[in-house]
């Protein structure tokens, strides 16, 4: 009945791999660990026998002691029994020890290899892959999916042991006394039903708890992120009252979940007490009345085996669900490992020095099939040119620079760098000549210095200082206590947007690329920082081939050439002045996007404001 609940919190995913495929590949993964696996399997069998043998020996001692004799043989029998019991007891621990040591040799290494493979596969992927999976939280492939799979693999190994225990217990009990064995076995179905029932309840309460948990989290995040707003408005009391409600729901859900899970154990104990009682009643009666050959020892064997039913059965109940989760995780992992990146590093031309000439020759490109972004697109950028690209959203501006950066693969035509087809050049040697500053400047967790040196870790101190100066990062460092050693936080969150932008300029500059690709940030900063960014941008582009998606008026004005893009085609090109005179699409764009950035711009319909422009007061 709990099968109904399977997959309630998991979305139905398309299965791409058959079970057989998953098993085959799992075996391949486990294969290198043959030695620890074999050793622990053997030990597991030994452990099973050890744990079954100890009550039998004890029973034997009990039965022997019922008629004590003062002979020497009796003494030796007792001594032998006692010593072998002691030996087996200690052996139980040794078995556990060996199994644990073997799993220490196996599990961490297995997981490291798995995670390393996933991570390496991620490094091979192009941006198309990341576009597709970004929302899917790729990092859970490395963390939770990998550990789900690890749990499933190790569970498969122990589950065999559990089955063995159950079967052997029953065989031994049946051999001793069949009716009593059957009575004892009755505990199994009851326990199974009970476990399934509890799983079902736990599932329901856990789900509502997870929801409550998530809402506490988001409520907390909301209030912390909006703390400036709350404080500015002075509404802390109202916000606290809202939180109290969320917190109350969380309390109820959490309490319910824990109670419903915690109740399982009293039930198991009750069942075990009833089992003990039944065996004592029936077995005792039989022993007293002499029906069958039941002795005090037999009774002891039954009672102690009964206790051994419980753990394996509860484990078996969880087994299926955990295996499911593990295989689902492995499937998601395989989708990453098996994904074929479109951009592949197949070229073998190493380029040491380039002039920086770029040519797009009849390039066709689409992100998804049948929706061409660039069609028969041609463009030549001579070395050292400053080219600005303008156009409405969706015109294909970003695609041009993404193709140039080899983030995506194009479908037709050619892209040539210094007349060499781009696909023939080794990716790493090509990208070393490329400097990119992206729209949302991303910094790695670490210091400012580490970030600036990211593309050239062996940069000399002089080069670093020069990069700092030209990019104006030196000016912002004045305001930071730890200077270059300032931690930027995750994704650079401890710096302001303007600061992050300047740091990413310095990073590109230090790498000293011949070709500079720039997706100008749309988010503006304050007037002064904006002017700093402009200044450093000009320095950055000097003497390099640069392609800029322009959002700033100053950039288009400074460009050697502007191309106006519309639906993947160049519809106009020229200089700012020239294009403005033409009165075509550029003039249109200028009025929409750039005009208000003019220093002298004044919004219309504002007669009440008197504008004083560069005129000294009388």
């Amino acid at each position: 009945m709990s099968w109904i609940f399977e997959g309630i919190d998991r979305k139905d995913e398309e299965r791409k791999y058959s079970d057989w495929e998953l098993i085959k590949r799992s075996i391949k993964r486990i294969a290198p660990y043959k030695r620890p696996m074999v050793i622990s399997s053997i030990t597991m069998v030994v452990a099973t026998f050890t744990s079954l043998l100890t009550p039998l020996i004890f029973a034997n001692i009990i039965d022997t002691l019922q008629n004590p004799q003062s002979t020497e043989i009796f003494f030796w029998i007792l001594l032998a029994g006692g010593i072998s019991y002691l030996f087996l007891s200690v052996l139980s621990w040794v078995n556990d020890y060996i199994i644990n040591i073997q799993s220490a040799k196996f599990v961490p290494d297995f997981m490291v290899n798995l995670r390393g493979d996933i991570f390496s596969a991620l490094q091979e992927q192009d941006m198309k892959f990341f576009d597709k999976h970004r929302s899917g939280r790729l990092n859970s492939r490395v963390s939770s999916d990998a550990s789900d799979y690890g749990v499933a693999v190790s569970i498969v190994m122990t589950i065999v042991g559990h089955f063995l225990v159950l079967i052997f217990i029953f065989i031994i009990l049946a051999l001793i006394n069949l009716p009593l064995a059957l009575i004892s076995a009755m505990v199994i179905p009851v326990l199974l039903v009970m476990s399934f029932l509890f799983r079902k309840i736990a599932r329901i309460t856990s789900m509502s708890f997870r929801r409550a948990h998530a809402s506490v989290n988001s409520s907390m995040a909301e209030s912390v992120n909006g703390i400036q707003v709350s404080k500015s408005f002075g509404v802390e009391t109202e916000v606290l009252n809202e939180f109290k409600e969320v917190n109350e729901r969380h309390f109820i859900a959490g309490f319910r979940r824990n109670v419903s899970m915690g109740m399982f154990f009293p039930f198991v104990d009750l069942l075990s007490a009833i089992g003990t009682m039944v065996i004592l009643g029936f077995g005792g009666q039989a022993a007293i009345s002499g029906i069958g050959i039941i002795t005090a020892g037999t009774l002891y064997v039954f009672l102690s085996y009964l206790a051994r039913f419980f753990f394996p059965i509860t484990q078996l109940v969880n087994f299926y669900a955990q295996l499911q989760a593990g295989f689902a995780g492995y499937e998601r992992i395989l989708q990453v490992i098996d994904a074929e990146p479109e951009v592949q590093d197949l070229g073998n031309i190493e380029i040491d020095q380039i002039k920086g000439q770029i040519e797009f020759r009849n390039v066709n490109f689409e992100y998804v099939s049948d929706a061409p972004v660039l069609k028969d697109f041609s463009l030549t950028v001579p070395p050292g040119e400053k080219l600005a690209i303008v156009g409405h959203t969706g015109a294909g501006k970003t695609s041009i620079i993404a193709l140039l950066a080899r983030f995506y693969e194009f479908q037709g035509g050619k892209i040539l760098i210094d007349e060499i087809p781009i696909r023939n050049i080794k990716l790493k040697s090509y990208r070393k000549h490329l400097g990119m500053v992206l729209q949302t400047p991303f910094l790695f967790n670490g210091t400012i210095e580490e970030n600036i040196a990211y593309g050239r870790k062996d940069a000399s101190d002089e080069d670093l200082q020069r990069a700092l100066k030209i990019s104006r990062v030196d000016e912002i460092l004045e305001y930071l206590k730890d200077g270059l050693q300032t931690q930027v936080g995750e994704g650079g969150c401890l710096l302001s947007t303007g600061q992050r932008q300047l740091v990413s300029f310095a990073r590109a500059l230090l790498a000293d690329p011949r070709i500079l690709i720039l997706d100008e940030a749309t988010s503006s900063v304050d007037a002064y920082t904006e002017s700093m960014i402009q200044e450093s941008l000009e320095q950055l582009m000097r003497g390099r081939t640069s392609i800029v998606i322009a959002h700033r008026l100053s950039t288009v004005k400074n460009a050697d050439r502007i191309i106006v893009l519309d639906q993947g085609k160049i519809i106009e090109e020229g200089t700012h002045e020239g294009l403005l005179r033409q009165g075509g699409e550029y003039a249109n764009l200028y009025n929409t996007y750039f005009k208000h950035q003019e220093v002298a711009w004044v919004p219309e319909e504002m007669p009440q404001q008197v504008v004083i422009e560069s005129t000294p007061p009388p």
């Binding site: 104990d269 009643g281 996007y593 004044v602």
Partner: protein
């Protein structure tokens, strides 16, 4: 040094007081949990005793005291007793679980509420230095661990020790076998030693384990969000190396933890004790110092210690994690800079006179030099002040101080009264502040607009939205004012967010306006609308504006140029354009500016750029 130690002792003391206060908030429930736990454990230990007695008296009946019929009826009594014992234990266990979870979850609820309130009341200085994720983790994960400490942590740890004491009493009292007890003492001592030494070794290892694991998580997160940068710089192999270093490091920690787990000696000692008791017990029976049932009972008692012994290694981890979690929460709550600085009880009456900064200095904990260094400034009512300066020069700080979001040196007065004499709430309520990174709550547009004035009518909401030039675009959205704005307002464009924020501020009708203006670049039409909205809002209000809109700067009554924590230039645009090189810098090089009148400047500026 000694100062530090005293400080540490002090926090330790305050932590203990705080934590034990939360733990003992409900003594009645605690009492019932303790009693319940004792009964449950005792009845669990009674089972092997009863079995042994039943075997001795009813089944073996060594000295043939009873007839088979009497034996059978005695057996029935024992069986019945077992049933009663089982049922009683069941009910008590259920009630105890209930009470224990109640204790744990009410404590979590209480602490979470206290924590939330405390975070709310921390000044912004505090919030700048902590990450949202960290606070979220404290409020959920860490607090969850505290809950785990209360239930089942405490019970699990107590189990072993209570069981041992009860067992010893039962061995003496019921089994009547001091020999067994004496023989067990060495094992008992070794056992306790093993438990303690294991946990001593485990604590640092599991700590490293967790730390190394989170290093991996961060590395992966960084690599995925920075995928474009990694590719742009062709640093995939470096990233792989870095990652492998982290995982291998983690593998080492994991391996050490596993090995230590394997060498779990308490169970070895218990196994040995069980084995030895059978050996010794047999001979005690032979010499009539013990009964068979007595040995079975003793064996059962020891075996029943097995599960709690396995569990205790976990339980101590749960316990330590809970304690560490509680400590982190408490530390966060009492963080030094955490005290919201003192406030007066005067109601802020609204502004009618001059705002004056007198020698105001301010420093972030992370800044090298003072962000604001002895600032003096006077602003007449109704004036618009534009503030310009490099990023990090203290523009936002200057305005934040007015709301007392941070503490500062010097004095700020409004109408001659020190703002510290007003109550924080009334002071802040009369300010309208539009922050740099506009934050909208993930709710509907309406709920966002009424954030500062929750009783506002729909008519009011629409009116302010019109004034903020937001009404038109809102009406074009599918659910109009009920449109959900997304996480942080992500469903709206930058220009739209800003206008919603304007409406939100406008609704509270503030007498002083602070405008940290930087929105995503927008098209000229939107820009026009925003400027229009700003101009409407600032009419008749004292306004501070940090902006990149040159049109706004030019219209300001006064521009102040901040650099290096000082006001390097101050005055109207028309004056500054002639006198301040720093001010001229923001107009870039594409504009023909009138010649600089060097002779007339009183401040010697450092002219950056060429």
């Amino acid at each position: 040094m000694s100062h530090n130690v005293i400080g540490l002792q002090k926090t330790q003391k305050s932590f203990i007081r705080w934590f034990s206060g939360h733990l003992t908030a409900n003594p009645l429930v605690i009492g019932s949990v303790v009693i319940g736990t004792l009964i449950v454990i005792f009845s669990r230990l009674l089972i092997p005793i009863v079995l042994g007695k039943a075997i001795d008296m009813a089944i073996i009946d060594k000295d043939d005291l009873l007839s088979p019929t009497d034996q059978l009826s005695l057996l029935r009594d024992f069986v019945l007793f077992l049933l009663v014992l089982g049922v009683v234990r069941f009910f008590i266990a259920v009630l105890t679980t209930f009470a224990n979870d109640w204790l744990s979850w009410t404590a979590q609820k209480r602490i979470r509420e206290e924590f939330f309130n405390s975070m709310q009341n921390k000044p912004l200085k505090f919030h700048d230095s902590v990450r949202t994720g960290e606070l979220m983790a404290l409020a959920t994960n860490d607090l969850g661990q505290v809950g785990g400490l209360i239930s089942p942590g405490f019970g699990m740890i107590a189990d072993v020790f209570i069981s041992i004491i009860f067992s010893a009493l039962l061995v003496i009292g019921v089994l009547n076998s001091p020999e067994l007890l004496i023989l067990s003492i060495p094992f008992f001592i070794a056992y306790l030693w093993a438990v303690f030494s294991f946990n001593q070794k485990m604590a640092p290892i599991s700590h490293t384990f967790m730390r190394k694991w989170s290093a991996i998580a961060t590395a992966v997160q960084d690599n995925i969000t920075g995928a474009e940068v990694v590719r742009a710089f062709a640093e995939e192999s470096y990233e792989r190396q870095k990652f492998m270093k982290y995982v291998l490091d983690f593998r080492g920690a994991w391996y050490r933890q596993q090995i230590l787990q394997a060498r779990y000696f308490p169970t070895l000692i218990l196994f040995a004790a069980i084995g030895f008791s059978v050996l010794a017990g047999s001979f005690l029976i032979m010499f009539d110092r013990l009964t068979i049932g007595g040995l079975i009972s003793y064996n059962g008692l020891l075996i029943s210690l097995m599960v709690p012994t396995y569990v205790i290694s976990f339980a101590i981890q749960i316990f330590n994690a809970g304690l560490a979690g509680a400590r982190r929460i408490h530390e966060m709550e009492v963080r030094e800079e955490g005290e919201e600085n003192g406030q007066g009880d005067k109601e802020f009456p609204g502004i009618s006179g001059i705002i004056r900064f007198k020698d105001v200095s301010f420093k972030y904990p992370t800044s090298r030099k003072p962000v604001l260094d002895k600032i003096n400034l006077a602003v007449a009512p109704g004036q618009t002040i534009a503030i310009v300066g490099p990023t990090g020069s203290g523009k936002s700080s200057l305005t934040n101080l007015l709301l007392r979001l941070y503490d500062y040196e010097g004095e700020i007065t409004i109408d001659g009264i020190n703002i510290k004499e007003y109550s924080l709430e009334s002071l802040r309520k009369s300010f309208g502040r539009i922050e740099q990174d506009i934050y909208l709550f993930p709710r509907s547009i309406r709920e966002n607009i009424i954030f500062g004035a929750r009783n506002a009518s729909d008519v009011d909401v629409k009116q302010v939205a019109r004034l903020a030039q937001a009404h038109d675009f809102i009406m074009k959205l599918p659910k109009r004012y009920d449109t959900y704005v997304g996480e942080g307002g992500s469903q709206l464009s930058g220009g739209q967010r800003q206008r919603v924020a304007l409406a939100r501020t406008f609704l509270t009708n503030p007498s002083i306006l602070i405008f940290d203006d930087s929105t995503s670049s927008v098209d000229s039409r939107t820009e026009e609308k925003i400027v229009k909205a700003i101009n409407t809002v600032i009419q008749g209000r004292t306004t501070f504006v940090i902006t990149h809109r040159l049109s706004t700067i030019r219209q300001a009554d006064c521009v102040i140029v901040l650099k290096g924590g000082k006001i390097v230039a101050k005055g109207h645009h028309s004056k500054l354009i002639l006198t301040s090189p720093d001010y001229r810098r923001i107009f870039g090089k594409n504009v023909e500016l009138p010649p600089l009148e060097v002779s007339r400047t009183s401040i010697t500026p450092t002219f950056g750029g060429s």
